[in-house]
Symmetry: D2
Subunit: 305 residues, 4 copies
């Protein structure tokens, strides 16, 4: 019954890397939040305080900046893969590296109807994400996992949503409804099939998947958020052979009908109170039944948190 | 040297009103955060605990919802004016009312290239605001103040910004620069001239002013954020005769050039670290020299907070 | 009807200064968030982009760190006064300076019942504040304003609070209550009498005022939050001759009785739902009737924001 | 290669339950944030939109309030176990339930040196947590997991911390140091041995473990945060036979020495800049080598998020 070191990892979180491309007349910008996590044999650091095998988190941060120059920031998946492979291949004690990237979107400003060459405005809270895990010493097919996604895609439909026919217990007071507002702030993560064809370019896959998610949310007549999420996930897998699994986490942002009857007013689905807490929370995965075991990558994909 | 009650106000803050317009095939939604504050003779409530003259904040909340149905939510300035006038005119002890509204923008979703009739996505963090103050027993021209604005308009230009020739004291270590990133999250509030022509519609004024602010930020070659802000404000007053004053508050979101020299890399304005704190904070008003004294409305306009 | 520059100020916000005193065996730490704002003749910077009279915000930040060493950080009011006086006296274009300090509290950790010499834990969210304004070229008595305070003092009483006998209009549905939870997160700012005896030490004044506020909140049988706040403010002025005015801003954090009747359970003030939004907001000042006009200092005291 | 529903769960998140005990002269309060998540055969809800087996999240919320009255809120682990067992035993489709509870601490206020019977102040940001998972149809020993913990325990030591002798690569620029500030905001989760002696009472276990963590942080001369965390975890397992594993996640809140040399000042570990981002992030588990496989409970313990 000895006491031992269990799973462990360390790295630099939330390095804010901004890259400007100044080629030609039109500037481009990329705005990232990068976190690195290294795994390997770091028992000496934990047990004896010996740092000889520990690459400082400060060096990891420097690497994020240096790679933004050396490799550039094209698609975030490639940038993350470059970083993760570097840590695994070039830093001896590292057996696995996980690199998480959030990308903030900017839109080019228009002046007098013309796109401005170097001025931008932040395009919303929605964040594109990737979490790449590269492991050493496994078969090639298993050594790299790419889980891309988005966070904070806020969606609302003002009709086309029901909630009825549900299980009732002694604590149930909720009335059934056949017309309600359905709103959520979606978090999604999809895992690319490591054995499948390489999604090139990643940007196109992202754009297509985001559009599929939005369209299914809009088009499905919702009998429950569970059903909507499943249909959204299913449509993504139908649209992309290279996606093995998608995980969706959706808070149900309740909009309660304001009670206007005391004031002699009816309220046929027109005035709502948007509530903060509590909120429903619906989470599900949709997967191919032959998808390989996600192993290392999936447990840390954070699609559910 | 008696102790007395000084200025006081009370109300209901952050009532989240969502209004759906279901007329015809295309739904429309309006999403507001409404705060009401009442002023008047509430000395008895404070000094003796007597609530006979106190309209509960809960009733104020109910009024926000009822008015969303009765009056509808067209332009937020009109909705706020309706509420404020109601409190001043219909609630006897109230001598002045201040109503603040934040509006969150939603964009209609496209499905297969067509606008969807009832599905929307949140359009960014930027918030349109108004703060309306209606006072009793003053001359008509002075009794109503409308300060509209925006909050969280995040702007960045990747060149066209300098900072040089500044005052140096013994604590100055900053290097001069003739090419830097300039970024801010702009808060602005503009006060409409109460004696001027009524801005009808308010929505058009908002859209025009926002565009003027964005265009001037883009077009001005910046020698300092102060200069950029002044030019932005000046352009608004030049574009709109009905605006008496504008206040601008702009954190200078520093982007520091990453030092890549230790790695043998140059960095000609390409890789930056986006810093959180501290940040510069630049605040100024631009006004007409014959603008009437703002009095009640302005001190609470919160354009600087 | 020319367009002119109105009020303006600039500075460095949220410089996070941590000071360790290592004298003797017991370390002490002070943890501050410092913001500086300078006012003066900065028209050239705004109108012509000429920085010759502009001390960079970076230099202001450096000054905050340098003064933490040179002057030390004793009481935050003294530290803020030292900084503000320096900017006004030593930087030629500056005619007024405002320095805001937030102080985060730390408690010394105990090990085996003994205070540890150099380990600390954060003591809550509550923040002690000061906002000092020093103006040039006025009479000595008017040139310095000190508004100290606290932010985020969360208080709750589980009984001893009523709300009844209030004004009812057509939108009133609230039931009267003679026993409710009263909870708030108090923000308070008190202005020291500039002509009065110097509060030395400031720390004692702070501790006494905080205790008076807490005790009055506890002891007053509340007929309304307005009454509680007034009594709290009045007690502070009664306890401290050197305080000219106090401003209190208190969100009413509603705790709604859970409706357990559908489950055959009574609920005599035992189970509550703590709501987020909307919330009541009650704000008042209590002042001496001979208090000098606050002028510059007060409008920016931020006690109401 | 069919597309199928993968892991899924749903529930009500962040129900804010406040319980007042009014027995006798002294009131007591408990302030909780409760989230429930149910797992089971919910395929019909996802695939066909059939809610017949879905207990509404609203009913789950009601249950949280009703149990606060019926069962009371003694120790949060017991309250969470009661809720989880109810869902698994009484709601037919539910095969597993996870209940997460955050508890906010309040301190009784003193008035004139005496504890006040019904007035309290929030005691810091630190949160006590538990996450209980109860699964149906397993052996008793495996069917219940209790992972208790804390979040946001902010610790700082102003000396007794080094970082030197680390691995250097081409991107390493960090200087070694033998005296630095070490600060973190600790998140910890410990899993009770399901086969071990029942920790009765849970409150005592919590208090003891928290104290062990604080004392080890203080006492260990730190050669790296990894070492400090391991020693903290090891000490917990040594102190409590009923704890099978502990996971620690610690952001390294960097405090950088302010460079005062340009101003002719030395800075022997006295003035620091507290940085926000990026930050180091160190995570490790310490476990008994015969600890049973955590299975269901552990992956969702969220100690690392």
């Amino acid at each position: 019954m000895a006491i031992t070191l269990g799973p462990n990892q360390y790295g630099k979180a939330e390095t804010r890397v901004v890259r400007v491309y100044r080629d030609g007349g039109q500037h481009e910008i990329r705005d990232l939040n990068v976190s690195t996590l290294l795994r390997g044999d770091f028992a000496d650091a934990h047990i004896r305080g010996d740092q000889a095998r520990v690459l400082p988190t400060d060096s990891q941060k420097n690497t994020c900046f240096a790679f933004a120059k050396q490799k550039g920031i094209g698609q975030i998946e490639d940038y993350a893969l470059d970083l993760a492979r570097h840590f695994v291949n070039d830093i001896e004690p590292v057996t696995a590296a996980r690199v998480e990237v959030e990308e903030y979107r900017w839109e080019r400003v228009s002046v007098a109807g013309q796109p401005h060459p170097h001025t931008f405005t932040r395009a919303g809270d929605e964040v594109r994400t990737t979490a790449v895990t590269v492991s050493h010493g496994r078969s090639p097919g298993q050594s790299t996992w790419v889980v891309s996604g988005l966070r904070g895609l806020v969606l609302l439909k003002s009709t086309g949503s029901e909630f009825a026919g549900f299980l009732k217990d002694r604590y149930t007071t909720l009335a059934e409804t056949h017309d309600r507002i359905l709103a959520t702030s979606l978090n999604a993560g999809w895992r690319y099939d490591p054995g499948g064809p390489h999604p090139a370019p990643w940007d196109e896959a992202y754009a297509q998947i985001r559009q599929v998610l939005v369209e299914r949310f809009a088009e499905v007549h919702s009998l429950a958020l569970q059903q909507t999420l499943f249909e959204m996930g299913q449509a993504v897998l139908q649209a992309r052979d290279d996606v093995a699994e998608i995980r969706l986490s959706a808070p149900n942002r309740h909009h309660f009908l304001a009670d206007l009857a005391p004031f002699g007013l009816d309220n046929p689905g027109e005035v709502f109170h948007a509530a903060d807490r509590p909120y429903g929370l619906i989470q599900c995965a949709v997967q191919r039944d032959d998808a390989p075991d996600p192993g290392l990558a999936w447990d840390s994909a954070a699609a559910f948190t």
